[in-house]
Amino acid sequence: MSIVVQNLRRTFGTFQALRGIDLEIADHQLVALLGPSGSGKTTLLRIIGGLDFPDAGQGRVLIHDEDVTEKPAADRKAGFVFQHYALFNHLSVFENVAFGLEVRPKKNRPDKNAIRDRALELLRLVQLEGLEQRLPSELSGGQRQRVALARALAIDPKVLLLDEPFGALDAKVRKDLRRWLRNFHREIGVTTIFVTHDQQEALELADIVVVMNQGQIEQIGSPQQVYDQPATPFVYEFLGDVNKVRKPGRPDLFYVRPHEVRILFAGDSKAELHAKIEHLFAAGPSARLTLRLQDSRDTLDADITRQQLDEMGLSEGDEVGLQLALSS
């Protein structure tokens, strides 16, 4: 196992940031810590990286089967990429990347040429060759992000920890960099954990998604698993759009995703529920309907294909029947 976290607790004053976290991450995986703000995901990442510590005696952290719970960050070899990059403003791109090698004690420090070669190699790897003499202030957001990555990789980290790696970037750069990171991880193979609050990012990028809420892990699984078989209502609601529906005469709440709602003609005998189309929006290959349930104040959303919409000739105000591929 690359990273093992056992029964980890962390309290800030009276706020319980982490309430007993257990996590095992196999080698070479790309893991997303996904959750809303305040869920404890960043705290967990910082504790793994040695930037913060669990409450005394409350939990252990192992990296490559070595207990590092009490080890300071400097001795962990965990490459950390900060949300706002934390580049050293006074050092050039090259000096930033070489920093981790230059601060090694004399006996472990590579000679000047080796440091130079390694730094330039990393800058090539992150596609920043030619920019080595620039200052961080002279780079774009995406470029800074990649400098931060190269800098973290310079110490040959056992694990790579990324805190909201795309949080400070605009939408277009985000998308490009996401794809780039996916391939990059495949290339270097270092076990990587990244923190995000964006479900799309987690699902697209990660091998394993760890969904966190209020200091606890709600579910661990592949993107497919957490999306298709959510373990808890929280996961259901947090990942993707979801309707909460109460069937007539039954007290419990059902969760159904918009694409799982089947639209039938009003008279169809298979219809479980009846509703009226309140709003209709069609663009591209799919259409979204906002439906008001009969005998209820609830509304729910349904996604259907453009083809079905045209075939059934639906328009706003029509009565329809619904069949739900319900999961509870």
């Binding site: 913060d52 510590f53 669990p54 409450d55 005394a56 400097a74």
Partner: protein, 279 residues
């Protein structure tokens, strides 16, 4: 808290050592001299102390000190508000030059600040002959002392107000004007309440310096006891006459003023969340 030290934290021994050094340094340079002022002031007993600060020359020095401050502080406060209004609310050519010039008096030695007025209004100065012909005395008299005090306390209010008003922007004033307020109403009901703590802060600092100024006032004062001696000058006279107890008694009055200023300043910083600035 775990026993492990976080990366932004220094180890305990470092912390203790550095805190010890800082406290020791401040004690030696600030607290010991301050304590000494009061110890020396009361060394010969409360009666000598009371006599020293109620003696007629001391009293007239106190009155003169207050008079000088009472003229120069309001003038500089009005200037500060006007300068801040012009600089923060409008954009114009030469603004950064104006800003630098306002700070100029802080860069000038107090002695030179006094000297410039001697060169203007002294017997040999530019206006000397004219003043003598009209029997007006500026140098070695109260007007000169007021001028010198205005000079050395010139930037205090302006430099508190300018950055604050620049940060606040013009939106609130625009809103008031669009609601039909006159310019004066806008200033009084919108701008002034927004800057009142910074204004107060600047006035406090300005006043402390005005009452405590020594070098500049010393140059233009005639050192005439009971007439052109402010309290700091009176302290000097007593000290040079080896009347240490009386000198420190008067010095202690000035120290109380200084401590009061410090207390008020800290209170305003806490109250208004003002950021401290260097002087």
């Amino acid at each position: 808290m775990s026993a492990t030290v976080r990366p932004t934290q220094d180890p305990l021994w470092t912390r203790l050592l550095l805190i010890g050094c800082a406290v020791g340094f401040l004690a030696l340079f600030l607290f010991v001299p301050l304590t000494l002022v009061f110890a020396e002031a009361f060394r010969k007993g409360i009666k000598v102390y009371a006599d020293a600060i109620t003696e007629s020359n001391a009293l007239s020095a106190i009155v003169l000190t207050i008079t000088v401050a009472a003229v120069s502080v309001p003038l500089n406060a009005v200037f500060g508000v006007a300068a801040a209004w012009a600089i923060a609310k409008f954009s114009f050519k030469g603004k950064s030059l104006l800003l630098a010039l306002i700070d100029l008096p802080f860069a000038v030695s107090p002695v030179v600040s006094g000297l410039v007025y001697v060169l203007l209004f002294g017997a040999q100065g530019l206006f000397g002959p004219w003043l003598r012909a009209h029997q007006v005395q500026v140098i070695f008299a109260v007007p000169g002392m007021v001028l010198a005090t205005i000079f050395v306390t010139f930037p205090f209010v302006a430099r508190e107000l300018i950055p604050l008003m620049q940060a606040q922007g013009n939106d609130q004033e625009y809103a008031a004007l669009s609601l039909g307020a006159s310019g004066w109403q806008t200033f009084r009901k919108v701008t002034l309440p927004n800057i009142k703590w910074a204004l107060f802060y600047g006035i406090i600092l300005c006043n402390a310096r005005a009452m405590g100024e020594f070098g500049a006032v010393s140059v233009v004062s005639g050192h005439i006891r009971g007439e052109t001696n402010t309290l700091p000058l009176h302290v000097e006279v007593l000290y040079n006459e080896y009347n240490s107890a009386a000198a420190f008694a008067c010095a202690s009055v000035l120290s109380v003023l200084g401590l009061l200023t410090l207390g008020l300043k800290t209170f305003i910083e806490w109250r208004a969340g003002l950021r401290r600035r260097k002087h």
